[in-house]
C-alpha cells in the first residue's frame, strides 16, 4: 500500500492529533475551550482551525493543487496572524505534521521515495503558510496606515476642505 492510501486510512486520527498539537499552542484554559465548543459561531478559532486542518489532510492525499492548499490554509493563517504568535509559532504547526505522520505510519513500511514525496508536500504547505502569514501582516499594516486617511481625510478632501497634504 502506498503512502497516500495509508494516509487516507489514518485520516481521522491524524487530523485529531494534529488539531490537538495546534490547539496546544494556546494557553491551557483557552485550549480546552477551543477543542470542546463545537458551535462554529461561538468558537470561530477552534472550528475554523479544525476545518482547515481537515481539508489540508484531504489535500495531502489527493493530486497536488497549490490553489486549493492555499485556500484551505488561508482561514487558519488569517487568525494566527492577529494572535500573539511569533511568525515561527504562527506557522510552525505545519511542520508538526511530519512527526505525527511518522508516528502513525511506521517508517519501515514506506520507501524512502514515498517519504520524500510526503515531506516535499508538507514543505510546500509550509511555504504557502508563510506567504499567507506575510500577506496578512502586510494587510494589517496597510489597515493601520490607512485608518485615518481612509475615513476622515478622504471625507474632508472630497469636500475640498483640505488645501495642502497633511504634514504628519
Amino acid at each position: 500500500m502506498g503512502l497516500i492510501e495509508q494516509l487516507a486510512l489514518q485520516k481521522q486520527t491524524i487530523v485529531h492529533k494534529w488539531f490537538a498539537r495546534v490547539i496546544a499552542s494556546y494557553p491551557a484554559e483557552t485550549a480546552r475551550f477551543l477543542s470542546s465548543q463545537k458551535d462554529p459561531f461561538a468558537n470561530p478559532v477552534g472550528q475554523t482551525t479544525r476545518q482547515s486542518l481537515t481539508t489540508l489532510i484531504e489535500l495531502l492525499t489527493s493530486t497536488p493543487d497549490a490553489a486549493a492548499m492555499r485556500a484551505a490554509l488561508d482561514p487558519v493563517m488569517r487568525i494566527r496572524a492577529v494572535q500573539s504568535f511569533s511568525p515561527a509559532q504562527a506557522m510552525g504547526f505545519v511542520f508538526e505534521l511530519k512527526a505525527i505522520i511518522r508516528q502513525e505510519l511506521p517508517a519501515k513500511e514506506l520507501t524512502l521515495a514515498q517519504w520524500a514525496t510526503m515531506e516535499q508536500r508538507i514543505d510546500q504547505m509550509a511555504l504557502e503558510a508563510f506567504d499567507l502569514y506575510m500577506q496578512c501582516r502586510e494587510k494589517i499594516y496597510e489597515l493601520k496606515a490607512n485608518e485615518m486617511k481612509d475615513r476622515t481625510y478622504k471625507a474632508f478632501a472630497k469636500a475640498g476642505l483640505i488645501k495642502e497634504p497633511a504634514d504628519e
Partner: protein, 543 residues
Amino acid sequence: MADETPKAAQLLAKINYTPQAKQWMDVPVQIRKGMYCYAGNPKSLEYLGFPNARQWNPVEEDWKLPENWQQILHEGFKERLERFRSIKVFMDICVRCGACADKCHFFIGTGDPKNMPVLRAELLRSIYRNDFTTAGKLFGKLAGARPMTLEVLKEWWYYLFQCTECRRCSLFCPYGIDTAEITIFGRELLNLLGLNIDWIATPAANCYRTGNHLGIQPHAFKDMIDFFCDDIETITGLKPEPNFNMKGADILFVTPSGDVFADPGTYTCMGYIMLFHYLKEKYGLKVTWSTYASEGGNFGFFTSHETMKRLNAKMYLEAKRLGVKWILGGECGHMWRVIHQYMDTMNGPADFLQEPVNPITGTKFENAKSTKMVHIAEFLADLIKHGKLDLKPERNDNKILTFHDSCNTSRGMGMFDEPRYVIQNVANHFYEMPANTIREQTFCCGSGSGLNAGENMEQRMAGGLPRANAVKYVHEKFGVNMLACVCAIDRAALPPLMQYWVPEVQVTGLTELVANALVLPEEQERTTDLRGEPLPGMEEADE
C-alpha cells in the same frame, strides 16, 4: 517527541474552566504591540482637568506615576465602593462559575485567558479582597487576594483597555454581574493616575472644546453639510437647505460627528439631510442641526461619570436655547447607551421639552417620555408604518443585506426590531446572521468604547473576529455584500474589519439605505445611489 501528542490530549481533558487564582496571577503581563492604544496626549488630559498629565509610553518601564499612586488608587477604590452599590455587589457575589468565560469576543478572538470576563473582573477583585476584606487580608493569595503592585497596575491598564464594555458577558451571568461596569469603574480609577489612552482623551477634550471628536469648528461643520447638499443636488436635481441653530424648530437633531466627517458615515449623513428635506417639503416639519451640540457620541462615557455628564449636558442646553419640542438622535451606539441609562438622572429632567409625539403620524413615543429623545430608527419605522414615506426599495436591489446589532442599541437599550423593519421596507434582500450572534447576543465590532484607533489593529481584528465570522457565513451562504448598522463607531470600525476578514462586504448606515429608496418630491430620475454607484438597471446610463 513521540509521546508528546498524548500528553497534549490528556491535558485538554483535564483543564478546568474555573480559573485558579494562583495560576493566572502567576502569569506576568506582557504588553504587546498592536494590542494597545497610545497613551493620552497630556494637553488633552489637562484640558479635561485630569491629574498627572504627562508624556508616557506603556511599553517603557517607568510610567511616571505620582509617588503615592497606591494610596490614590486605594482611596479612589474606597470612595467608589461607597458611592456605587453595584460595584460593591459585583466585587462580592461572583462565584466563578465560568458561565461568562467564553462569551467575550476578545477571549474568543485573542485566545488570551485574561480576556475571560471573569478574569478581567478578578484583576480588580483581587485588589478589593486584599484591601477591603478580612479573608483577603488574612489569607492573601489563598483567598484570591494580592497587593497592588506596578505589575498589577500594568495588567489592569492592558486588560481594561481590552474590554469594549459591550455587556455580552453579563447576559450569561446567573447573577447579572456586569463586567462592563467593572471596566468603566476600573478605567475611572486609572484616570486618577493619568492612565488614559489618546483615542479617548483627545476626542473627549475636543468635544468639550469645540463640540465634536475631531475638534472641527462650527463653520467647517456647516461647510461639510453644505458640501453634502451639493452632492445630493447632483444625484437628485434638488438642493436641500438644512437649518442650523434654528430657534423655534420642531425638532433638534443630534448625531455623532463621525457621520459628518468620516466615510462611510457621510452617506448616512446625506441620508438624514434628504429625509429632513422630504419631511419639510411634504409635511412642513422643521428639523434643525446644531453647531454647538454637534456631537452625539460621548467619549466621556469611556472616561469618567463626570466627563460623561458634562458632554451630555450640551444636548439639553441647546434644545432649551432653541426652544424645540423634542430631540431626535441619529445613528449612534454609545450615545444611546448614555441617553438610555444615564441622561435622565444625570442631566434631566428635561421638563422644558415636550413628551415626543411624531407630528406627522401622531404616534406618542412612550419609551422616550422622560428623556425626550427619539432614535431615528424608531422615527423612521413609525413613518414607514403609517405610509408616510414614498419608497422605491428596488433601488437597493444590488445590495444583499445583513444587520449588525450594535451592543449599545441592542443590549444597552433593547432596540431590535425597528432597524430590521426599516431595512425590510427599503430593500428587498435581507438575511439574518446566526441567532447566537445577533440581537441581545450580538458580537461587538471589537472596536467600541474608544478602542477604534489605528495602532491597535491586531486587537481590533482579533476582537472583531466572532462578528466577522458570522458575516462571512451569510456572505458565503446568501451572497451578502452589505453589512448595515446603526452606530457611527460601527461605520468606522467595521470597514477595516471586513477588509481583513470578508473583503467582499461593505458597510452602510440605515438612513443611507432609506435615502436611496426615498423618492423626493419633484426629483430627477436617479441613476446612482448616494455613493455615486449606478443604481440597479442603470449601469448603462451611468457610463
